[in-house]
Symmetry: C2
Subunit: 314 residues, 2 copies
C-alpha cells in the first residue's frame, strides 16, 4: 500500500488514532486533532513557548540508512529539545507532513509511530497538523510548551564571569553518523531532549543564558555569545565525552575532540551560571544528569581555547 | 543571487529584519526571532489556539503563474483563516521554509515580503521558524492565537434546527484559478481571512458550529456535519456569488454554481446559529460583512439539496 491508496484524510485518520492511543487524556489540551486548530490551556501565570523545526529526506535523513521509526523519533527530539532549551514544560506537538503519493504506507506509519511514541515519552500529545503531496518526504514539527511568566531561558543572558556548563556528553550523534556513512551501518543513536533539566534550570535564580547543542558545541556556543554580545574561554580538556568514545573514534580514524566540538544533534543543554551560583556537582545533583564545567564567559567576542580541536572559525 | 549565496543564517537575518520592520512592538510577544523558541503571552483567562498549514511548489502554486508576493500572501491567508474559524485573535506566526539552494533570492524575498505584509495586516508578527534545503519550495506556517476560555468555535457543535450561514461570497478563488489555468492569465485574487468576523461569532451566545471554506463549500460543510454527526439541507438558490460572477463563468464555459459549491480557498466562514439566534441581516450588521442564510441542520447524515450543482459525493 502506498500513501495515495489511503489519501490525505485516510492518513489523517490513521495518525489521529495513533495520537489518541498514545496519550489518553493529556492535561492542557482542550481540543486535539479534528477541528480547524487545536486549543490548548496553559496554567495561570504561564507564558507560551512555541517553535518549529523540519527534517527533509536526503538532507537530514535517508530512508536507506535510518530506520523509519528513528526518523520520526529524531525529528521529535530535535523539536522538543528547543522546548528544553527554553526551560518549558511540554504542552503539545503539531506535524506538517509532506510526502510523495508513492511513499510506502508501512514506512510512513513506522515513521509516524516512532514520532508519536517519542512524543508521548515527553508528554507531547499530537494535536494537529496537515498533509501535503511533495516530491520528497519532510516532517515539519511545531512544539508548544509553557513556562512560568518571565522565566523562559534565553540565549542573550550571559554575563562576564558566568561559568559555562554542559549536560551529559558530546559527540555521540556525530560518531553514529560517521559510522553509518563510512561503514554502511544502520543509524541507531537516539538522543534525549533534556526537558526536565531545562525546567529545573528555569527555576534556578543564578541561571544566565541557555541553548541546546543542535548544530554542535562551537556553533551553538557561538549563537549564545552573539546573542549575549560577549566572549568565552573554553578548556577543551574538560569537554565531556561519552564512555568508550575515544577508542571508537580511533577505530574510524576520527579526532574525538573534533567530533565533540563540531558534531551536532547531541541535544545537550549548554548554559551559564552566575559566579555565586552552584558548581558542576551541585548542578548535576539538581538536574539528575552529569554536568561538566567547560569554561567561563569573558569580555570581547568569539571563543578562545578551541584552537587545535578542529574548530577553525577563528 | 541565489539562496545558496546567503545561506541559512543569511536568510534568517533577512527575514528577521523584514519581520521586525513589519510590526514594531506586537502586544503578546515576549520574545521573537533569535532564540530557540518564541515566547508569547496570552491574556489571563484565554485559551491558546494553534494550527499548521503548508503550501508546496507545483502542488499548491507555480512560480510561473502566481506572482511570488501572492504565493506568500496566500499561504498566510490559508493559515490565518483557521484562526478565524476558531474565533481566535491572532498572536503570532512561525514559518518553516524549505527551498532549493538555487532558488532566486529575488523571488524568495518577494514571497516572504508578501507573507510578512499580509501577516502584519492581520496582527500576526513573524516570531520564528526555520530554513531547510529541499528539491522544491514549500512554506509550512504555524499560526497561534488566543480566545476567551472555552469560547473557541468548533466544528462539532451543530444541532438539528440550526440555521446555516456563510459570509461573503463563494467561487472567486476557483474562477481565478480557472482563468490562470485556461487562459494563462497571472493569478491575482487574494482572499481575506475573516478574523474579525470569527472573533465576533465567538462572542455570540447562540452560535452553533463553525468552519472556514478552504476545500470548498460541499467538502467543508461535509467536515462540519461529520464532526457534529448530523445532516444538512441546502438551498442552492441562496448561495452567495460574487458580483459579475455568472457572466465571467459563462465566458469560460464554467458552471457558476459548481464553482461556488466545489471551489476551494474562499476562506469564508460557514457557521450555524441556534433557531432563537439572529438572522442573516442582524448577523451581517454584527460582522460588518454580507451574510447569507443557505440552509438548515437536519436529522440524518450528509447534504441534501446540492444535486444538480455539480456536487456528486452522494
Amino acid at each position: 500500500m502506498r500513501l495515495r491508496d489511503v489519501g490525505e484524510f485516510g492518513l489523517i485518520a490513521r495518525v489521529a488514532r495513533r495520537a489518541q492511543s498514545a496519550i489518553a487524556d493529556p492535561a492542557g489540551v482542550v481540543l486535539g486533532i479534528g477541528d480547524d486548530a487545536a486549543v490548548l490551556r496553559p496554567r495561570r501565570g504561564e507564558d507560551v513557548v512555541v517553535t518549529t523545526d523540519a527534517v527533509v529526506e536526503n538532507v537530514h535523513f535517508r530512508w536507506k540508512t535510518t530506520p523509519a521509526a528513528l526518523v520520526g523519533a529524531r525529528a521529535l527530539v530535535a523539536a522538543a529539545s528547543d522546548l528544553a532549551a527554553m526551560g518549558a514544560r511540554p504542552l503539545a506537538v503539531l506535524l506538517s507532513l509532506a510526502a510523495p503519493a508513492g511513499l510506502a504506507l508501512d514506512r510512513l506509519e513506522a515513521c509516524l509511530g516512532g514520532l508519536v511514541r517519542e512524543a508521548a515519552r515527553h508528554g507531547l500529545p499530537l494535536v494537529g497538523g496537515n498533509v501535503a503531496r511533495a516530491s520528497e518526504t519532510s516532517l515539519s514539527l511545531t512544539v508548544v510548551g509553557a513556562v512560568a511568566r518571565g522565566r523562559a531561558l534565553r540565549r542573550d543572558r550571559a554575563r562576564v564571569g558566568d561559568r559555562i556548563f554542559v549536560t551529559g556528553a558530546l559527540g555521540a550523534s556525530a560518531l553514529d553518523l560517521a559510522r553509518s556513512e563510512r561503514r554502511g551501518a544502520r543509524a541507531r543513536h537516539r538522543p534525549a531532549p533534556r526537558i526536565e533539566a531545562g525546567r529545573s534550570l528555569a527555576r534556578l535564580a543564578s541561571i544566565g543564558a541557555c541553548i541546546d547543542v543542535s548544530d554542535g558545541l562551537a556553533a551553538d556556543l557561538g549563537h549564545l555569545l552573539e546573542a549575549s554580545r560577549i566572549g568565552a574561554e573554553i578548556d577543551p580538556s574538560r569537554l565531556p565525552l561519552p564512555r568508550g568514545f575515544s577508542r571508537a573514534c580511533k577505530k574510524l580514524a576520527l579526532d574525538p575532540l573534533r567530533l565533540a566540538v563540531e558534531g551536532g544533534e547531541d541535544y545537550e543543554l549548554l548554559f551559564t551560571v552566575r559566579p555565586r551560583g552552584p558548581g558542576a556537582e551541585a548542578l548535576s545533583r539538581r538536574l539528575g544528569l552529569p554536568v561538566a564545567e567547560i569554561g567561563t564567559i569573558v569580555r570581547g567576542r568569539g571563543i578562545r581555547g578551541l584552537r587545535g580541536t578542529g574548530f577553525t572559525h577563528f
